[in-house]
C-alpha cells in the first residue's frame, strides 16, 4: 500500500487496492486506539470506497476503487460499518460480498431506480428486512410514529414487546430524507454551507465547522487563528444549549415538570445569550468556509453567560437532589464500553461508557486542551453526569478563547481548486454535543463540489439506541433513553 502524505490537520490519505482491503481493514480494526469513524463512497465514473479511521495521531482515510459492484463484507470485520454499507448500497448500488440483508435507510419505499442518487441504483431495492417480526405470538409489535408526541421530530419506531419489557426496537429513518448530500453537488462551498448548517440544525455550528474545514482542506487553506477560536466559542455555546435542552427533555420524560421548567429557563437564557453574542439563537450563519462571518459580542458573553450557566447549574443541582428523578435514570438504558466500541458510538453516549472519544484535539483546542469528561456505568445517569461535566468545561473553554481573542476574519478561498487528481479533496471534523461530526469534500477545478459527505454524530449514535433499549427496559424507559441520547432524526436522515 502506497502512502502519499497529504497530511493536512493530521489527515493521512492512503490508496488501498481492492485485493488488500479486507486485510487492511482487519489490521486497522484490531489496532489499539483505532476506530472506524465513517465509510462512504464517491462515484466519478468509477466508484471509490473510502474508510475513515480515527487514531490518536489523527484521521486515516483509505481509498479503494471498487470494480464489479462488490467489496468485502466489512461490517463483519468492523461492525460499525453496517449503516454505511446500507447507505452505500442504496446510493451507489454496490454491496458487501455477503448474503446478509441490507436495510432501507434513507430512500423512501416509493423510490424507484430513477430516483436521484449519488451513484447508480441498486439491483433490487433494499427492504425493511430489519423490521423484527415475532414468531409464536408471544410478543407483539408496538407501532410508534412517525407522527409522535408534540414538538418532536417525525420518526417511526417499531417496539417489539412481550407486554412489559422491550424485546427489540427498530427505526424507519427515511421519513425526513431531504437529499442534502445530493443537492450539495455542483455548488460552491459558500452556497453549500447554507444546506450544511440545516442538515442538523441543532448542531449547525459543528456540522458547519466540519464542512468548512473539509472545504478548506480541499483547497489547501487554513482559517485565521482568531476565526478558529470564534468557531470554538460558537461550538461550545451550542454544546451548552443542547445539554440544557437534553436536561429539559430528561425531566419531561421522567414527568418532573418543575425540573423541566427550571431546565427550560436555563435553555431559553442560553439561547438569548447566543442571540446577543452572535445574532442568532441557534448560531446559524456564524461559520463560513475560510473563517467566520460574525464575531461574538465579547462584553455580552462575559456579562450574560455566567448568569445563564448559573441557572443551568442550579437546576442540575436541584435535579441531583431529587431522588424520584435520579432513580429513574440509574440502571436505565445501559450500554457497555464494548457496545460503544463495536458500534463505533461517539460523543457523550460513548464517553458515558468510559471511552475517551473526543474530536476536540487540534486547531484552537491544541492551545486550549479539553479535559475529556467520562463516566462509567453507561446508563442514562452516566450520560447525564457527562453532560453536566461538559457544560462546565465548555464555560471554562469559552472564557479561555475569549481571552485569547476572537474575530470575524476569513482567509480568501482560491477561486479554483488545483485540479490535480488525488488532491482537491479534504476531511473535516468537529465535536458536536452529539459527538464527532465528519465531513469530506471533493472539489472540481472550478471549485465546485463533486461529492460532499456529511456525517453528523446522530448517524453513529442511533446505532446504539436500539441496543440501549433492548432487554431489562420497560416501555416507559424509552423516552428517557431517547432524551439521554438527545439525537435528531434530521441529522440521521439528512
Amino acid at each position: 500500500m502506497t502512502t502519499q502524505a497529504a497530511a493536512i490537520r493530521g489527515t493521512v490519505t492512503t490508496r488501498v487496492p481492492a485485493a488488500d482491503l479486507e486485510k487492511v481493514t482487519a489490521d486497522l480494526a484490531k489496532a489499539p486506539g483505532t476506530r472506524l469513524a465513517d465509510m462512504f463512497a464517491s462515484d466519478g465514473g468509477i466508484t471509490v470506497l473510502r474508510l475513515v479511521w480515527a487514531r490518536e495521531s489523527g484521521y486515516l482515510v483509505t481509498e479503494t476503487e471498487i470494480e464489479g459492484g462488490q467489496y468485502p463484507a466489512l461490517s463483519d470485520i468492523a461492525p460499525a460499518a453496517f449503516v454505511e454499507e446500507c447507505e452505500i448500497y442504496e446510493q451507489f448500488g454496490i454491496r458487501p460480498a455477503t448474503g446478509k440483508p441490507l436495510n432501507r435507510l434513507m430512500l423512501p419505499p416509493h423510490a424507484g431506480p430513477d430516483f436521484p442518487r449519488l451513484g447508480h441504483a441498486p439491483a433490487q431495492p433494499p427492504q425493511e428486512v430489519h423490521a423484527p417480526h415475532t414468531v409464536g405470538g408471544q410478543a407483539f409489535e408496538f407501532p410508534f410514529g412517525p407522527v409522535r408526541q408534540v414538538g418532536v421530530e417525525s420518526l417511526y419506531y417499531g417496539l417489539v414487546t412481550s407486554g412489559e419489557e422491550v424485546v427489540d426496537v427498530y427505526l424507519f429513518t427515511w421519513h425526513k430524507h431531504r437529499g442534502v448530500e445530493w443537492r450539495l453537488r455542483g455548488t460552491t462551498p459558500r452556497q453549500a454551507m447554507f444546506f450544511a448548517e440545516r442538515a442538523e440544525g441543532l448542531s449547525a455550528v459543528a456540522v458547519g465547522w466540519a464542512f468548512a474545514a473539509a472545504a478548506e482542506a480541499a483547497l489547501g487553506v487554513a482559517p485565521p487563528p482568531a476565526a478558529d477560536r470564534t468557531r470554538a466559542v460558537a461550538l461550545e455555546l451550542e454544546r451548552l444549549y443542547n445539554h440544557a435542552a437534553a436536561m429539559a427533555a430528561l425531566c419531561q420524560a421522567t414527568g418532573l415538570t418543575v425540573g423541566q421548567s427550571a431546565a427550560e429557563i436555563a435553555l431559553e437564557r442560553l439561547l438569548r445569550v447566543n442571540a446577543a453574542a452572535f445574532g442568532h439563537r441557534y448560531l446559524f450563519g456564524v461559520i463560513e468556509p475560510g473563517g467566520t462571518a460574525r464575531a461574538p459580542d465579547v462584553a455580552v458573553l462575559r456579562r450574560e453567560l455566567p448568569a445563564a450557566y448559573g441557572e443551568l447549574r442550579r437546576a442540575a443541582d436541584a435535579l441531583l437532589r431529587t431522588n424520584s428523578f435520579v432513580d429513574r435514570l440509574e440502571a436505565c438504558g445501559i450500554l457497555t464500553a464494548e457496545h460503544a466500541r463495536r458500534l463505533g458510538l461517539v460523543g457523550p453516549v460513548a464517553r458515558a461508557t468510559g471511552l475517551t472519544v473526543d474530536a476536540r484535539r487540534d486547531g484552537p483546542y491544541a492551545a486550549h486542551p479539553v479535559t475529556v469528561v467520562t463516566a462509567d456505568g453507561g446508563d442514562v445517569f452516566a450520560r447525564f453526569q457527562v453532560m453536566l461535566g461538559e457544560a462546565a468545561e465548555s464555560v471554562r473553554l469559552i472564557g479561555e478563547f475569549l481571552d485569547a481573542g476572537t474575530a470575524a476574519e476569513r482567509t480568501a478561498l482560491p477561486a479554483k481548486g488545483n485540479g490535480e487528481p488525488g488532491s482537491g479533496s479534504g476531511l473535516g471534523w468537529a465535536e458536536s454535543s452529539r459527538g464527532e461530526v465528519l465531513a469530506w469534500v471533493a472539489l472540481d477545478e472550478n471549485g465546485r463540489i463533486t461529492r460532499a459527505r456529511l456525517r453528523p454524530g446522530s448517524v453513529r449514535n442511533w446505532r446504539g439506541f436500539d441496543d440501549a433499549c433492548r432487554s431489562q427496559n420497560v416501555f416507559t424507559d424509552i423516552p428517557i433513553i431517547e432524551a439521554s441520547f438527545w439525537l435528531t432524526a434530521a441529522g440521521l436522515a439528512r
Binding site: 440483508p101 409464536g136 405470538g137 408471544q138 417489539v160 427489540d168
Partner: protein, 673 residues
Amino acid sequence: MNPLDILYGAAGVWLAAGLTGLLAGSWRLGLRACCALSALAGAAAAAAGGWSLVYGNTRVVAPGPPTIVGGPLQLQMTSLAGVFVAVLGIAAVAIALYAPRYHEPSRGSAVYLAAYHLALLACLAVLAAGGMVTFLVAWETMSLACYLLILRHLRSDETARGAFWFLALSEIGFLLVVAAFVILSAKTHATELDLMAARGHLVPGGWRAAAYLLALAGFGFKAGLVPLHVWLPEAHPVAPADGSAFLSGVVVKLGTYGIALFAFRLVPLAGSWPGLVTMGAGAVSAAIGILYALRERDLKRFLAYSTIENTGIIVTAFGAAMVFHAYRLPALSAFLLIAGLYHVANHGCYKTLLFLEAGVVEHATGTRDMDRLGGLVHRLPRSTVITFVGTLGIAALPPLNGFVSEWLIFQGLFQGFRTGSHLAAILIVLAAATLGLTGGLAIYAFVRGFGIPYLGMPRTPQAAAAREPGQPVAGPALLAVACVALAVGAPVMLAALSRTARTVTGTSLGPLLLPGKLTVIPAHADFSAFSPTYLAVFLVAACAVPVLIYLAGRPRAASVSVPVWDGGMVSFRPRMQYSAMTFSAPTRVTFDALYRPSVSVRRASDDDPAGRSGPVHYEAQVTPVFERYLYRPVVRAVEWLADAIRPLQSGDVNLYLLYVFLVILLAYLLGAV
C-alpha cells in the same frame, strides 16, 4: 305420577336415539332423527329435574332384574339431583340442536352418537341411582362412554393421550369411590342410599371421616379439583366440540354431585374440619384454575381451566355450607348449598355454550389458537353475540347469571364471623378473599378470551376467511336464553332451590330468602339485599338512556368518517395488535412463583456483530408443575413396578403349569385348615 316416571320416558327416548344413531347415524337423515329424539328426551329430563326440585325425593323403586354385578337396579329421584338432571337435560337439548351441523355423517359419527347417548343414559342413571350398586355401575359406564366420546376424532396420538389421561384418572377415582361406598354399606349393612343415610349414626366417626375423604378425592378426580385436575386440559381440546361441552357441562358436575351426595345426604359428619378441607380444596382449585387459564392460547384448554375454576367455586360453597352446618347455623348452611347449586346450573349453561362456540370457531377457521384468530366479530356476528352473553355470564358480570350465584356465594362466605370460632372465621374469610382474586382474574381472563379472537384484525388468512353460513346457532342460542333466564328469573329459581334445601337439610328459609316478589335477602336478615331482576332491567335501561340521548341530540351536520388514527404509518399490520400472551404478560410477571416461566429470546441481532435487528423469536413457557412434580414420579413408579413383575410373564408353559399347581395346592391347604 312423579318426576321419576318422566325420567323413564326420557331414558327410553335416549335409548331409542342411541340405537338410531348407531344404525342410521352415518346418513344425514338418521343423524337428524337421532338428534331430534335426543332433544325431545332432553326437554323431558329438564322438565323432570325442574319438577323434582320442588317435588322432593321419590320412593326408591327396583324395577327389572338384578344387575350384572348382582344387586337390584334401584332408582330414585331426589331433589338434590334435580338441578343436575335439569342441567343434563338442557345441555342435551342444546347439543342435539348443535350436532347435526357440526358432525359429518359417517361411520365415526354413528358410533359417536351411540357412545354419546350411552353416556347420557349413564349420567341420568348416576343421578337417579337409589342404590350404591346402581350408582357405581352407572358411574363406570359413564366413564367408559366418555372415553369413547373423546376418541371421536383420532387425529393424532395427542387425542389418545388426552383420552388416556381421562380414563386413567377416572379409574383411580372410581376405586376411591368404591372404597367409600364399601365402608358405608359394610358399617350400615345397606346398599340403598336412603337406608345408608338413615343408619349413618351406626358408622364410627373415624370410618365416616375416612369414607368422606375417600369420596372427596374420588369425586374430585371427576370434578377436577387441583391437583386431581390434569385430565381436563388434556381431554377437552381433543374431544369434539359437543363432546367437550358435555364433559364440562355435565360430567364434571357429576363430580360435584357426588361430593354433595356424601356431604349432605349420606355422611352426617361431626366437627368442622371436613368442611374446611373441602372449602380449602375448592378455593385453591378456583385460584389455580383461573391462573393457568390465563396462560393458555388454545381456546378449549383455556375453557377447560376455567371449568376447574368454576367447580372450585362450587365446591367452596359446599364446603362452607358443611362448616356452617357443623357450627349449628342451619340457615347459612342451607343458603350456601342453594348458592352452590345455583352456580352448578349457571356453569352448566354458559360453559356448555362457550365450548359449543369454540367448536364453531374451530369449524370456521380450522384453529383453536387465539393468536391465530381475531376479527371474528365481523365474520361470525351471530356467534359473537351468543359468545358475548356467555362471556358476561362466566365473567360474573351483571346483569347475567354468573353474577347472581357468585354474589350469593360471597354473601354466604361473608357470614363466616357468625361461626364464633376464630379459626373457622379466618379460614372462611380467606376463602372469600381467594374467590375475590379469582373473580377479578376471571374477568381479566375472559376479556382476553373474548377480545383476542373476536375483536381486532384477523391474524391469519384462515381467520379472515371465516364465514357464518352453515355454522350451528340454535343450540348455543338456547343456552344464551337460559343464561338470561337464570339471571332475570333468579327469584323463581331461588324459591325452587329453597324447597330443595328444605328437602336436603330440613331447614326452610323461603320467607327469609324472598320477603318480596323480586327482592332477595341472602344469608342473613340484616346483612344485604338485592334484586337480580331489577338489576338486569335497570342496567339495560341505563345503557339505553345514553343511546336515546345520542339519537335525540344527533348533530344535524353531515358527519365525515375518516380512517383510524395510526400515527401516519404507512400500513397497519395485524402483528401490531395485542396478542393473547402479551395481554396476560402482567400476570406472568406477578405470579412467576407459580408459573416458573422459562423465557427464551432469540434475536437476529444477537449472533450478528453488526447488531442488525431482524426476526425476533420470543417464547415464555410455563412449567407444568403438577404434571412434572406430582404425576411423573407416580408414572415412573408404576412403570418400574411393571418391569419388576415382568419375569412372572415369561411365556413358558411349564412355568404357568407350576403356577397352576401352586394355586391348587394353596387352595387345598386352605380347605384342609
